[in-house]
């Protein structure tokens, strides 16, 4: 069954057409500032599958209309299987630490641990996160944000915003906006941790808001 899955996902291509590719089709009235690629981490169903086999680019889009078309056609957050991840990254950036655009950066993140409480609203919160990223209101003009990630785990839903750098001055706006987007209370803290620090066990977050 895993071979079939692999074959099917290989067929998924990145060359979806937008208004930029096909000027005759004016279905896209609202072009986005950046082109975005939706990625998906498939839970491992076979021990032979490694990380690269599991991380799949699904589709790339560049307009608001396309975003909605895609969003309406894919499973909502609370319908994804455990150990799945959605990643929405600027085109050309892989959602991996090793990617040159990510290697010097880190992530703002928050974990919703009370899944039974958050389950009815996680879809809306994730949507708000996506809109803030594609609309680029998650930051001012810092151009720090590379993408947004949703992890579906047994104990928690975790939302993270990946950044290019780790400079405090550039990051605080993003952290504060993420907190608003996720409708967190004051006592619910978002944390920023660099990718380098994430690799070291027990390392403390760089910023807590």
């Amino acid at each position: 069954m895993s071979d079939e899955l692999a074959q099917q996902t290989e067929e998924l291509s990145l060359d979806s057409k937008t208004v930029f590719d096909s000027k005759d089709e004016f279905t896209a009235k609202h072009p986005l500032n950046s082109r975005w690629t939706l990625w998906y981490t498939k839970p491992q169903v076979n021990k032979n599958e490694n990380w690269h086999d599991l991380l799949k680019p699904v589709i790339t889009f560049s307009s608001v209309e396309e975003f909605w078309g895609i969003y309406n056609s894919i499973p909502p957050a609370n319908q994804l299987p455990l150990k799945s991840d959605y990643h929405l990254f600027k085109e050309g950036i892989r959602p991996e630490w090793e990617d040159t655009a990510n290697s010097k950066g880190g992530k703002w993140q928050f974990s919703f641990t009370k899944k039974h409480e958050i389950n009815p609203v996680i879809n809306d919160l994730w949507l708000r996160g996506l809109l803030a990223v594609i609309g680029e209101t998650i930051e001012d003009d810092e151009n720090e944000v590379n993408g947004i990630v949703l992890n579906i785990r047994k104990q928690a839903y975790r939302v993270g915003i990946w950044t290019k750098d780790c400079e405090d001055s550039k990051l605080k706006t993003v952290g504060e906006r993420l907190k608003k987007v996720l409708q967190l209370k004051d006592e619910q803290k978002v944390e920023f941790i660099s990718h380098d620090a994430s690799n070291i066990r027990g390392s403390e977050p760089q910023i807590v808001l």
Partner: protein, 164 residues
């Protein structure tokens, strides 16, 4: 830089356009297959937990494990145990006797004879029956002998006696 607020983006929701329906269809199929696999794994795991695979079909056609035949004996600690200890007795002077009950049959018979016999026997350590085969150190035996130690209070009393 083009920016869209959440409200602006939501307004355009009705104008949704699916760029490559076949890609998204394949994606949904993949997720369905992952879910099916996860559900099958869950059932397998549940079945493994329920039995070790060694089962039989009962008279109603249901698969059952042999757990009931291999079950541990139920604990008896739940019930209250009778207290077999002899109750303590308090004598006229207020002393409480906590002696254990004699367990051997006829233990109270011939107690005097037994005590006399015990007095006549001098117990000697038998090296063969000790844990160590090392011979008993005689110096230790000597060290155990009661020694008349100097007692200051006794000495004072003696002095008083002398004065009298």
């Amino acid at each position: 830089m083009v920016k869209y607020t959440e409200e602006q983006l939501l307004e355009a929701r009705e104008e949704a356009y699916v760029p490559s329906p076949q890609i998204l269809e394949a994606f949904n199929q993949m997720i369905d297959q992952v879910k099916e696999h996860a559900a099958a794994e869950y059932e397998k795991h549940k079945a493994l937990k329920w039995s070790n695979g060694d089962t039989y079909i009962d008279e109603h056609g249901h698969e059952r494990s042999y757990h009931h035949m291999n079950r541990r004996r139920a604990s008896r600690t739940g019930g209250s145990k009778p207290n077999l200890r002899k109750k303590s007795e308090v004598d006229q002077d207020g002393w409480e006797t906590l002696s254990k009950p004699k367990k051997s049959f006829g233990a109270e018979e011939g107690v005097e004879e037994r005590n006399k016999f015990r007095e006549t026997i001098k117990a000697r350590p038998n090296n063969k029956n000790l844990g160590s085969s090392k011979p008993v150190d005689h110096r230790e035996i000597i060290a155990d002998k009661p020694v008349k130690a100097f007692n200051a209070f006794a000495a004072l009393e003696d002095d008083d006696d002398d004065e009298e």
